[in-house]
Symmetry: C2
Subunit: 179 residues, 2 copies
């Protein structure tokens, strides 16, 4: 499954840290790319640095026309899931997504235009309480992939972590047996 | 199960938005309280406003001695789970938590002192890639409660959402049949 994320409507610089979290979560939960508008271009560099250290080729794509991205991915037969507290319950939607091959996940920072609700194939509520688009994205990607994203080691890592009960075990390079 | 969250080491004002997300996620995912140090006291007011509108009595507790909180909750037989990318894999830890009655979840913003790793009953990695303590908290609470947190309507809500495929359906008050 190819997963992409689009983040709509970043507001001001105060959101930069939240925007970085959205990109890092997209990468760590198996998406190949995040599209965002109005973001500080430093975020691209931050994520490139993360790729160099921890592997993979996750991309930050700065794009003003996010509606154009949604239209293009619908034409490519991606399922478009817009995460909103007003949507259908996650448990109700997940079975209908089981056959999707590829997915574009749309998250909003602040008010999302009505048109997005209409364009989306699924408006999905990760709970019907206000919380965080970062949290919603993470839980949604975890549920859609049934946790399998955590078993995948991004290729080309300079460092990787050995899970540990108490310490911090970090080793160089990739798991043995890989190129 | 009683769940509490402690957030360590907020840095500067630039993290305020992230701190608010951490509190909102704690509330929306069924915790009764978040302890935090060094946070802007406005966050308390923000969360009180959220309670008034959306129900429940979630608390933001400003507390400098977070190690003291951890010690006290250990004495109360809460399981203390520290979320860190260096910890044991979530899937490996969850079965060992099945019998816990109450839980304190510790999340860090930035570097966490070594002592916390030793104090925690569980150091848990929600994936071994860098991402977001907000995302880690949400996925952890979702997995621990097996999604049941989304089925609970906080009491005393002034408004609630009716899940919807395309629109925003918000009604006054609580579900019928409740006091």
């Amino acid at each position: 499954m190819i997963i992409e994320v689009a983040r709509l409507g970043q507001r001001l610089v105060r959101d930069d840290r939240v925007t970085t979290h959205a990109a890092l979560v997209s990468r760590a939960f198996g998406a190949r790319r995040i599209y965002m508008s109005e973001a500080n271009a430093d975020i691209r560099d931050t994520l490139r640095g993360v790729n160099r250290t921890w592997g993979g080729d996750f991309e930050v794509v700065l794009e003003q026309d996010l509606k154009g991205i949604i239209r293009r991915r619908k034409a490519d037969l991606f399922g478009v899931a817009h995460l909103t507290m007003y949507g259908e319950a996650l448990d109700a939607v997940l079975p209908r997504m089981a056959r999707l091959e590829n997915m574009l996940v749309v998250i909003g920072a602040g008010k999302v235009p009505r048109e997005i609700y209409d364009m989306a194939d699924y408006n999905v509520a990760v709970g019907s309480q206000p919380h965080s688009e970062i949290a919603a994205l993470a839980v949604f990607l975890d549920r859609v992939q049934r946790g399998r994203q955590f078993g995948i080691a991004p290729p080309g890592a300079a460092r990787r972590i050995i899970p540990s009960r108490r310490g911090k075990l970090v080793v160089d390079g990739e798991p043995s047996g890989r190129p």
